[in-house]
Amino acid sequence: MKREITRVEHPDHILSYFRLETGPLAIVTVSGIIYNVGMTAGPYFEGQLAQCLYDIMKGRRTLQDMLMLAGTYLAVIFLVQLMRCLKRFYVRRFANDTSRNMRHMLYNSLVNMSRAQLEQENLGSIMTKAVGDVDACVEGMRKFTTEVFDTGVVLVAYLVMLFGYDYRLAFMSCGFTLAAYFIAGRLKNVVTSYSAAYRKSAGLLNQATMDRVSNEITYRVYGCETQRDEAYEIRLKDYEKRAVRANLWESTMQPLYNIISMCGVVLIIFFGARNVAGQGWTSWNIAAFTTFMSCFAKMALKSSKAAKLFNAVQKAKVSWKRIRPLMKEYVEKSTDSEIDFKAQEALSVSHLQVGKPDGTQIFSDVSFCAEPGQIIGITGPVACGKSTLGKVLIGEIPYEGSIMVGDRELSSLSEYERSRLVSYMGHQPELMSDTIEENIRLGEEKETDGFLKAVCMEEDLQQMPQKVKTHVGNGGVRLSGGQQARVALARTLYHEGQILVLDDPFSAVDRKTEAEIFRNLKKIAEGKTVLLISHRLWLFPQTDRVLFMENGHTLYAPHEEMLKKSDDYAQLYRMQMAGGTEDAE
């Protein structure tokens, strides 16, 4: 049976997840009740077996009876255990399904968050943690569901049986269990406060470890290692102390609660013996006595574990509280559009103004127009806003003024339309840990060869035994910086838009390769509008026009004209070319 991932409606309500799992939960309910009521069968039959043996010894019954009884006993136990098996499996399947659904929903809301959103308030790390929280939350939901039956139902079943045998004795002996329960409840706060202190100390220790390890070189250079070791030792001591205390309260109390509960056994033996002897409140045989005893012992043990139920629910609550605000309705961005993405489009920017969130202007009144087939070089000193301009074009930064793609205003396009019209490559190569081929295709089917050739990756690929199937490693670490940038460029070209925005695509490649890629780019991008943002100017003579940005102002002219127009541009260009003659050797 193949079970699919389901989309959750109202994902911010925990009940939505229970509702989706009605099937498994129904099985759990039926099998859980049968199993837990059946739990009493064990003690009952064990009592009957002992009684039967006694009767046989006395000659009142025969081996035949014993065989019958043993057979029934085994059949009943088998059924009960079968139910247990079903219950265990379906409770786990419920948890497994829920975990899958939660992750699915969480990921959907993550992948649709903008970069700005993720950077703000550290949402990135919150999301990473939330995914971890799903485990804790689902574990709690599973334990809760399990314990409802394993503790709740079974306790009731045992109690019914005990009261059925002798209500007065049951009443008296269960008083101790109640007392144990009461004490456990009273101490619950103490236990949670100790384990909270423990968890806090563990968090601090982890922080200290991370700090000690990641800043080791800084500490070493400043000669501060010894002091840091001492500080770490203090953390370790604190952690040890708190861990011991928390464990002491959590794991050692249970046998003690059990002892308190078991006080009742004194009464049971004493009064139970009188019952058997016929002097008590009810008349008992041996079977009743042993059943009562073992039933009571099992109940005492169960109730000493009841605290676990509360702990599980508590833990689930805490993690759910953290996940809940991140659970959004499923988002599916529309891909409807009437635009013909194959048509060539010009880009015209007029009176573009962009400011920082704090109100200061990055640049104002930028105007230029780029026709299909043109390559526009964009440059300027550090922090002039050239990268910002690139980010405006991919809709990451809001703007005032106008950016027209063909005859459409950029801000009026849907995310889908914008992404199809404008292709972008940023400073970071943003590679996935997958093969080179898959990094370019990203799920599409088109051939990659031409694009890899265009970015001069052929020679590099020859060196790799697995060619395009080479795995690039996490974030592309197995490739050199230049290779990463080229793969990223190939990817941008592969997912062709009519407008290409390339932010510093050549920073990590040498000049010879740069020149070759540029030649190929001209071929591949024929009929497209290319904006080449760069601080390296030596290829700029080959561009159609140059946009020079400085101190919030811009000049727009072909390279030769720009050299005359702007002294700063001319100076920058000459300085780089002077260095370049030696570099070219």
Binding site: L49, Q81, R115, N247, I259, Y416
Partner: protein, 557 residues
């Protein structure tokens, strides 16, 4: 240098250090095992009394309860001791590993990500902790339980003993088979979970690409594939998990049924299986006690398996090659920081260096910087400018040639006196846990509050810091500094101990012009009266009339 401390040595040291505790723990474990044997015996007596038609005295009832209580107390005690002991061991291990950090060469930290090293401290040591709490000791206790219960059963009912002797190994084998299947499925799951977990930060890192290429659906599809993989593996584990325990319990019932039937057969058989009804009742309660520890032994073997992997990784870490100890020779000579001969300046003579077995970063590098001189290093990316600083700081050992600082070899400068000599402003400020003041002092007790404030004033940060909610005591995580202010903080950290040499690694990269100006002014103040070595990518700017030293053959673009 090979390290002499393997894991075994460390463990041996810890156990020897707490001999009394180890002994007490053993006593309690044995106590818990033995005391758990008695209650059923008393129960046997009680039932026998009842069947014989005799009354049961209150004393006997109390005796039964008391034995249960003793057994419970012993069990508690055992838990306490195991916890305490396990924590002692993990503490000791972590201390030892922390000590190791200092002895590792700088190259280790570039080759291994901080997250990975931290995971050795946290996750791997935790597997050892589980090994102690649930693993070896628990297994020992459980094995003791089984053996002792079997012994009592043999004594009371030879037939049942033999029956169990046949069934127990079979069940054990079955347990192991289940464990193996489950472990395989868990490994599958772990691989899938690693993919699932990796996909999230990867998405966050690549979010711009995902959006500009509209790959949300594609990313979701991949994620769903990974969770589906994990789902299937988990489902498999769940199946084994749910079948296993019912089988064990049903087997227990079968043993009980067979025993009762045999006892009912009378004659030799009854003799063989023990005589009385009381024995039968006691036996039933023993049978369930044999199966419980059997089940936990299966679980414990698993935690031992995962601990073995953890132990391996930790052992690797502890045996990692260490850096030469030359720097430690003059540990007590904090006073002579600065070397014997300041007039010698900083000197690189004929230095060749390579990282690992790569191409040499530079060969035959020669230069001298006079005391008080300000120089700038230029060269293309990867030419080794930052490497010059690392060599100077003694973080790496040159392959050939000599590096001396004011007459002392770079490698022989003790760690403790480096701060008086060098102020190193890194490319990126690395915040440490703690307050703003501690960012500057780096917890150095010799740096007073006055010095911290002076350093902050020098860099123009004093006003910014006092404007924070708790001033200098504000936790760094709660303070919002701009990129440029972090650079200033970095400079304050470097100058706090009044070093003679300032090393500046390209610190004006990525700053807007206004902040850049402030940083440069701060640097100018900080550089006054010191020897200053700086690295710059952009040679055309800010070098003033300083001497340029070119690293590598080529001049920058």
């Amino acid at each position: 240098m090979q390290n002499k401390y393997g894991l075994k040595t460390v463990l041996g040291k810890i156990i020897r250090g707490s001999g009394a505790m180890t002994f007490l723990m053993l006593v309690l474990i044995i106590g818990a095992v033995v005391s758990a044997l008695f209650p059923p015996l008393v129960l046997e007596k009680i039932v026998n009394c009842l069947t014989a038609g005799q009354g049961v005295s209150l004393l006997m009832a109390i005796e039964y309860f008391a034995l249960i209580a003793v057994s419970g107390v012993m069990e508690s005690g055992q838990n306490v001791m195991i916890t305490v002991f396990g924590q002692k061991v993990t503490h000791g291990l972590r201390s030892e590993m922390c000590d190791k950090l200092r002895r590792l060469p700088a190259a280790y930290y570039t080759a291994n990500e901080a997250g990975k090293i931290t995971s050795r401290f946290v996750n791997d040591v935790d597997t050892i902790d589980t090994l102690f709490t649930d693993g070896i000791i628990g297994m020992f206790a459980d094995a003791c339980k089984i053996v002792s219960i079997l012994a009592v059963i043999f004594w009371l009912s030879r037939g049942l003993g033999i029956l169990l002797l046949i069934v127990t190994p079979l069940l054990f084998l079955m347990t192991r088979a289940f464990q193996k299947k489950m472990l395989d499925a868990q490994m599958e799951n772990r691989v899938a979970v690693a993919k699932v977990n990796n996909h999230v930060p990867e998405t966050i890192q690549n979010i711009r690409m995902i959006h500009t290429l509209f790959r949300q659906k594609y990313m979701e599809r991949r994620y769903d594939e990974y969770i589906q993989e994990s789902y299937r593996a988990t489902d498999k584990t769940n199946l084994y998990d749910s079948v296993y325990s019912p089988i064990i319990i049903f087997t227990g019932s079968c043993v009980t049924a067979v025993m009762m039937i045999c006892a009912a057969m009378g004659g030799g058989m009854r003799e063989f299986f023990g005589v009385s009804v009381g024995t039968a009742v006691a036996m039933i309660s023993y049978v369930s006690r044999v199966f419980d520890p059997l089940e936990s032994i299966g679980m414990e073997i698993q935690s031992i398996q995962s601990a073995v992997a953890g132990v391996k990784r930790m052992n690797e870490f502890l045996r990692e090659e260490e850096r030469p100890e030359a720097g430690k020779k003059a540990e007590d000579g904090k006073e002579d920081a600065g070397g014997q001969n300041p007039e010698d300046g900083i000197r690189f003579s004929d230095v060749t260096f390579r990282y690992g077995t790569d191409q040499p970063v530079f060969e035959h590098l020669d230069f001298t910087v006079a005391k008080g001189e300000h120089v700038t290093f230029v060269g293309r990316t990867g030419a080794g400018k930052s490497t010059v600083f690392r060599l100077l700081l003694g973080l790496y050992v040159p392959e050939a040639g000599n590096i001396s600082v004011f007459g002392t070899k770079a490698l022989e400068i003790p760690d403790g006196s480096k701060r008086k000599l060098f102020g190193y402003v890194e490319q990126k400020f690395s915040p440490v846990n703690g307050s703003v003041a501690e960012q500057i002092s780096l917890y150095d007790p010799e740096i007073t509050g006055v010095q911290i404030q002076k350093a902050a004033e020098l860099t123009g940060l004093h006003e910014v810091i006092t404007a924070l909610p708790k001033g200098y005591d504000t936790q760094i995580a709660d303070a919002t500094f701009s990129q440029g202010q972090y650079q200033l903080l970095s400079i304050a950290r470097a100058v706090a101990a009044q070093p003679q040499i300032l090393l500046l690694d390209e610190i004006t990269a990525d700053l807007d012009s206004d902040t850049e100006k402030r940083v440069l002014e701060a640097l100018e103040r900080a550089g006054a009266g010191r020897t200053v070595l700086s690295i710059s990518h952009r040679l055309q700017e800010y070098t003033g009339n300083q001497r340029l030293i070119t690293i590598g053959q080529q001049v920058v673009q």
